[in-house]
Each structure stands twice: as structure tokens, then as C-alpha cells.
């Protein structure tokens, strides 16, 4: 097996994992906050009981665990893969958050929102195709 093939075999599953894990963390945070009761009125003192109720929910800790897991996977990826390879690949997480919000939270995603999310993915993909370092090495983009 070639070195490139071996790298792909560990990189692609981890990228897929991070595309799911990060958005899943945000979905769980959303579920915890929605389940915490009354909608925030805008007054800071009213926020405390909502935050306390949310912290008592298992979902918030599940969300934080997913986001920590995402962070570790992202760091691991960056130890061997180029940032300019990882960043465009993970732009797909904006699509996966829409899919997960639809299936797990029952949010209705309008065609306009799908369009916006697709344009954001494209933009992040373009940002990622530029040189990851502009202060040290010569600009290659």
C-alpha cells in the first residue's frame, strides 16, 4: 500500500467524523437550550435560571463532549494533514448541520436556507484553497 493511500485511509474517515461530530455538538446544545424552558426575555437576570436548567440536562454535556471530541479529531488531523486540505473538506459541516437539525430537531429548512448554506460551503471551500500561511513562507496561492 502506498504512503498516500495509507494517509487517505486514516484522513477521510476522520474528516467524515469531524463533519458529523461538530454539528452534532451544536444540535445537542440547541436541544438542551430549547428544553430549558421559557424563551429568554432579553433581561440578563432572566438568563440564569435558563442556564441552570440547561446545565442540568444531559444534552448540554453531550453537546460539550461532542464539541471537545470534534476539537481533538481536528487537532489530530492537523498533525499530518495540510490545513488547506482539512479546512475546505470540513466546510461540508454547514450542510451536515442543516441535515442534522432537520432530522434531530425537526427544523424545517426552506429552499432559500439550503441555497444560503450551499453558498457558505462554497465560500469556505474557496478560503481553504488559499495558502495556509502568509506571514512566513512565500505565498503560493
Amino acid at each position: 500500500m502506498t504512503h498516500t493511500r495509507r494517509l487517505q485511509l486514516k484522513t477521510i474517515p476522520l474528516i467524515l467524523f469531524s463533519i458529523i461530530l461538530g454539528p452534532l455538538g451544536n444540535v445537542f446544545l440547541g436541544k438542551a437550550m430549547k428544553g430549558a424552558g421559557s424563551v429568554f426575555s432579553g433581561r440578563i437576570p432572566d438568563l440564569a435560571p435558563i442556564v441552570f436548567r440547561a446545565l442540568a440536562s444531559g444534552y448540554i454535556w453531550l453537546g460539550i463532549a461532542c464539541l471537545l471530541g470534534f476539537f481533538v479529531v481536528h487537532m489530530l488531523l492537523l498533525t499530518w494533514a495540510d490545513y488547506s486540505y482539512v479546512q475546505p473538506a470540513t466546510s461540508l459541516s454547514y450542510l451536515s448541520i442543516s441535515v442534522l437539525s432537520y432530522f434531530l430537531l425537526g427544523e424545517i429548512i426552506s429552499p432559500l436556507r439550503w441555497l444560503g448554506v450551499t453558498v457558505i460551503c462554497l465560500g469556505v471551500f474557496l478560503v481553504g484553497r488559499t495558502s495556509p500561511s502568509t506571514t512566513g513562507a512565500p505565498d503560493r496561492a
Binding site: 430549558a36 437539525s101 432559500l112 457558505i120 462554497l122 465560500g123 474557496l126 502568509t134 505565498d139
Partner: protein, 124 residues
């Protein structure tokens, strides 16, 4: 109004926090040794820097703003809109870290902003 203030905090405070942490990390220097003891020393060294603590505080503020907005707004709206941090990050990195943002990156950032505007129109 509250919604815009919270989104502003998520984008600006979160990005400013990352820039402060980035500045702290750059002054600690590149990591070459990945043994646990060396990593622990590296973390302790970075925790001695004021920029690190400022960064952690700002990122914390961004995180709690995210939790607050998620109590009344949809996840599929908030997360894509927070992609504006790419634009905030580029301006911040240029001004604060002296990074050069080339034309291709500005094009990508402009496309992200167009996408965020479209998502904003889909707001319920």
C-alpha cells in the same frame, strides 16, 4: 435587536478570542515535541500569558452567547450565520496579527458573506 447583539458577540467575541489565543501561541513558539510532558509544559507556559486568558474569556463570552441564542433561535440558522467569523477573522488577522490576505481569500470570504445574507433572508 437582542438576536443581532448575540450574533455580534458570537462572531466578534469568538473571533477576537481566537486571535488572542493565536497571538499567545505564536509567542510561545512552534511545537516540535509531542510527548505528554512537553505538551503539558507548553500548555502551562501558554497559561502564563495575558493574551491567553483574554482569549479564553472572549471565547467563553462567545460560547454563552451561542447558548443564549439557541434557547430561542434555530440551530440551522445560527450556525451558518456564525460563518461570518471568516470575515471577522480575516479583518482581525490582517490588523492584529499582520497576516496578508490575498485576493483569492477575499473572494472566498465575499462568497461566505453572500451565503450568510441568503440564510439571513430565510430567518423565521
Amino acid at each position: 435587536m437582542l438576536e443581532i447583539a448575540l450574533l455580534f458577540l458570537i462572531v466578534v467575541s469568538g473571533t477576537a478570542g481566537e486571535l488572542c489565543v493565536s497571538r499567545a501561541m505564536k509567542s510561545v513558539g512552534e511545537v516540535h515535541d509531542f510527548r505528554p510532558r512537553s505538551i503539558l509544559r507548553f500548555v502551562l507556559q501558554s497559561l502564563r500569558l495575558r493574551w491567553m486568558w483574554l482569549g479564553i474569556a472572549l471565547m467563553g463570552l462567545g460560547f454563552f452567547s451561542l447558548l443564549t441564542i439557541l434557547s430561542f433561535q434555530e440551530v440551522s440558522f445560527v450556525v451558518p450565520v456564525s460563518a461570518l467569523s471568516y470575515a471577522a477573522g480575516a479583518f482581525g488577522a490582517k490588523a492584529f496579527l499582520g497576516e496578508r490576505i490575498n485576493r483569492n481569500r477575499w473572494v472566498g470570504i465575499a462568497v461566505v458573506c453572500i451565503g450568510v445574507t441568503i440564510v439571513w433572508w430565510s430567518r423565521k
